[in-house]
Subunit: 250 residues, 2 copies
Amino acid sequence: MASDTLIARPPKLADAVSASLQDRISAGELVPGDRLPTEKQMCDRFGVSRAVVREAIARLKADGYVETHQGLGAFVAKDAGRTNFRLVAPGSAAGPVDLAQVFELRLVTEAGVAQMAALRRTREDLAAMRGPLAQMDEALRSGDQASEADDAFHRAVASATHNPLVERFMAFMNAQVRESRVPTWDHEGHALGRAAAAQAEHVAMFDAIAAGDAAAARRAAEQHLTAAASRLEMTIGGQEPTGRVTNAGE
Amino acid sequence: MASDTLIARPPKLADAVSASLQDRISAGELVPGDRLPTEKQMCDRFGVSRAVVREAIARLKADGYVETHQGLGAFVAKDAGRTNFRLVAPGSAAGPVDLAQVFELRLVTEAGVAQMAALRRTREDLAAMRGPLAQMDEALRSGDQASEADDAFHRAVASATHNPLVERFMAFMNAQVRESRVPTWDHEGHALGRAAAAQAEHVAMFDAIAAGDAAAARRAAEQHLTAAASRLEMTIGGQEPTGRVTNAGE
DNA sequence: GTTATCTGCTTGTCTGACAAGTTAGCCGCA
DNA sequence: TGCGGCTAACTTGTCAGACAAGCAGATAAC
């Protein structure tokens, strides 16, 4: 069903208008500070109503590319495109994100986060980690799903950095790999020891963080993520790049 | 001038509506797949016109939180909020980003990136780093600005991971701190030795990456970022959290 | 010369209408 | 009864016109 060829839908007008404007901004044709054409001009230019133009501009505002000022006009934002990080490059063919690349970015960040958490964790932080950890222990015995607790454990680690931005970014990264945690904790995951292995790595991370051993926390996090990737039959973090290496062309 | 208290502006209606909806989604009150109230219902609910509601929804669509289907209604997107990372938490008072927090996130990531770059760099990657490095050397002698070359050096390091996602994310993070590189390379920066210190750290990073010494590359990157922060009179990365710790209230 | 006002332009908001797409149910028919 | 097609109701998409609010520059008054 999912593989049925989707019938081509007539593109929404607002999509076309906002894409056109975004192209002109990305191409440098409009530089930060520049004023966009007025809504009326765009209506004439694109042959659409003001409602469509306003919706297109609303989208660019949401993306941080444009700022509007009543009575003045719309302007290319000073830091156009610097407020948002999109997982898929804007403009690229909307292919699915490469999970190996995501895992690798997570490896890079989570290791540093664990290191920082080891230096800063408070008693409360450690308590917040013990909860999910115990849930996963329990799931190990009962054979239950515990991907939610898994998620919570990693959130607790990030929270121990006491840096809200780091915390939010790690939550973002974790959300990307949420589905990939399921096979660790499903029936087969328990049977094949994937769950037990993951939990052992969690405990190693926790122990290092609790001990305040930054280097050990980093190693434990690295070990956990590379192992998790290999459980998903990916290879990351090594000497070989995982991404589609496109050096040849350019 | 910048410190003048900005007069409070009446919030735009569409902002309020979209914030309200986003809150309900973030709070889990509306889960992916749920249908949003119809536009007409929202008009009654919020006491605004349909134009305002549509603009609010357009914003949420741009952020990837909702999808709309003509004739069907608006729905919470399957991966709501997972396609975008916003530097400022959506819904929070739009205060400026805390530069210390940004620096710390960059510290966490860039150290890991340098480590990975040391393992994967090719001859071409090293050549791409030598260019900006030489430019900065030249600027050291001439007293010129070289923040652009500084930026390029860090881009080249990220590029050596051969992971496009990592590369794009580091570009994003670098863009955040672009302005903060200026005082390193301005007249005072040269005079007070900030430029020379930064360049020495760059060279240390490069040497470690060129030697393929992952641990040394990591340490050099950490050293560079903590030193850069302290040149800006920030303290990051240590045992003390940098963020506005708001644990007390909630 | 300085201040106050006016005018025109721009975005923000409201209202009403129709087009296009979907769902559900009704109706007629075999 | 079971089925097919049709209609009606509802939803989002688009259009048009209007007024309010905010801003800049020109104009008039002092």
